[in-house]
Amino acid sequence: MSVLVFLENWDGKFKKLSFELISYAAKVAEMLDDKAVVLSIGKVDSSELEKLAAFGASKIISIENDLLKTLDDQAYAGIIAEVAGRSNAKVLILANNNTGKALAPRLSVRLRAGIASGVSKLPLSTDPFTVYKKVYSGKAFAHVTIKTGIKILTLAQNSFDLVESPQSFVLEKMDLQPEAGLMKTNVKDVQKQTGKILISDADIVVSGGRGMKSPENWGPLVELAQLLGAATACSRPVSDEGWRSHDEHTGQTGKIIAPNLYIAIGISGATQHLAGISSSKFIVAINTDKDAPVFEAAQYGIIGDAAKILPKLVEAVKEMKSK
């Protein structure tokens, strides 16, 4: 039996999310007295695959079939289900990102396996198999019992710390073909963001709201973000006004994130905004209104005007970095 974790790659590379998934899978495997097996689909060099062993993978299965260059939900689900069967997987773990959201539900039906999505902690118990997950967009948590023999979990990004536990491992190159005629997704073009830190990957996010007053005032906010190696984000009114790109909208209907540090500047903290950022480990709020709800969610706050405070923060970060 095994705990099988599915990994995608980004241009042949893994990222922190991949290692979080394996760390999590290895711990779940330990609770069940099982082994963690990794399934990687796509072209990834052996040296990159070997990095996975450090986080507790005892077996790494790599499938590089050219037909699988494009994510086709049906074809991928077929392959993963086949590998789950061959590895006698009891628990299947995917990321709670768009790829995981595409595949986990199809696998649930194929394998008749109950799903808990967006888990952020290890299972509360393994018999019954009960997990802890966010519901009502972070306003509450649920204990969910999965009643089937096979369980599927999708892990929220940035919610589980990396655990290094180097293993001796087996690397198996498996040649599996997608079922004939199943590739129905025809990708015509790919547009990638380059040179920008992704909001979902970032450890620090600096975010601006209507309190920034106008799009011309974003200079110091962007500078602060650059100095901190942070991603920039914004509230919904800001993206709706077109002051910043829609890609930057964090909140319930935008990006839901969990960085180490979220700095909310001129954001009052509507329920829908807080729903998207409440899993951040630290929240800093800067707002002129001392009664703004964002201060209830924040650990650190400054009551004042962003235009006056941002330059002081930029200076302080420069000073910190010069030491």
């Binding site: 980004w10 994510l71 939900d73 049906q74 689900a77 990102n97 768009n98 790829t99 959201k101 595409a102 595949l103 986990a104 539900p105 199809r106 649930s108 039906v109 109950g114 799903i115 808990a116 999505s117 967006g118 009960t130 519901v135 009502y136 967009s137 306003k139 509450a140 948590f141 649920a142 204990h143 969910v144 019992t145 999965i146 129905k184 997704t185 015509k188 073009d189 790919v190 547009q191 992704l198 450890d203 909208h249 209907t253 540090l261 329920t271 829908q272 729903a275 630290f282 201060f295 209830e296 650990q299 650190y300 706050g301 400054i302 405070i309 923060l313 302080a316 970060v317 000073e319 910190m320």
Partner: protein
């Protein structure tokens, strides 16, 4: 061409949730129920597609799994502009049973494009759309921020980590849609509200319930420690606190 939009019925997103019955049940007292925000955007996009005659969309149907208590939410979807509705008469929170009932109810209706919101704002599952596609044996695309038609074939933008893909999939298919699919939800006009009263809601009785998961309890987040304030004149102090106390740098 026929479009189906699956809608979920959720507490208004500004609701402060509370639980009763030893934290096992949501306290529905005083809750305003709405169409799940992503489903509302999906419906808006479906109606926009129908508005353009060149797309050749004959009908936009909404489907819902739930008890008669969700009929006002379905009427709202009809008032916004859906032509008709299907409700599977069963109450369940398990995604697998919701999707299997939906699949049974619509299997013979031959929808070409099925739109589902990427998650419901109550259970945040992100699962019903993909499950429905698998039950029906249809292809699915998840994280869709745009759907248009080019010669009868859906042209789709899929959001991926760090970019977008532009792709086509021949119908029938399920598109699981997210932010960007429509700009603002369409609002019901008085005429729509009047017309919705006579639009048909087909009620389908569910055949047995097969739940794979069960919510055994809820808890509220632990209150965060009180906010520590830094004086605006000494804003730089914040950086020192983040470095030495929070240790985030």
């Amino acid at each position: 061409m026929k479009i189906l939009v699956c809608i979920s019925h959720v507490p208004d997103t500004t609701t402060k949730v509370k639980f009763i019955n030893e934290s096992k049940t949501l306290d529905v007292n005083g809750i305003q129920w709405v169409i799940n925000p992503w489903d509302e955007l999906a419906l808006t996009r479906a109606l926009e597609l129908k508005d353009d005659a060149a797309n050749g969309i004959q009908t936009v149907t909404v489907a819902h799994v739930g008890a008669a208590t969700s009929d006002p939410t379905i009427r709202k979807a009809l008032a916004i502009g859906a032509d008709d509705a299907i409700r599977v008469n069963v109450e369940t929170t398990d995604a697998y049973s919701i999707a299997s009932h939906l699949a049974d109810a619509i299997r013979n209706e031959n929808f070409d494009l099925i739109l589902c919101g990427i998650e419901s704002s109550d259970h945040n599952g992100s699962t019903v759309g993909g499950m429905l596609a698998e039950f029906l044996g249809y292809p699915s695309v998840t994280g869709v921020s745009s759907v248009t038609f080019e010669n009868g074939v859906p042209l789709i933008i899929r959001e991926i980590d760090g970019g977008k893909e532009i792709l086509t999939v021949n119908p029938p298919l399920v598109a699981v849609v997210q932010k960007g699919i429509a700009r603002e939800p369409r609002i019901a006009a008085m005429r729509g509200i009047m017309m919705a009263r006579t639009k048909p809601i087909k009620v389908v009785e569910a055949q047995g319930i097969d739940c794979l998961t069960e919510v055994v309890g809820y808890e509220l987040p632990k209150p965060r420690a009180a906010c520590k304030y830094v004086n605006a004149d000494d804003a730089g102090q914040l950086i020192a606190l983040l470095q030495n106390e929070a240790k985030v740098f």
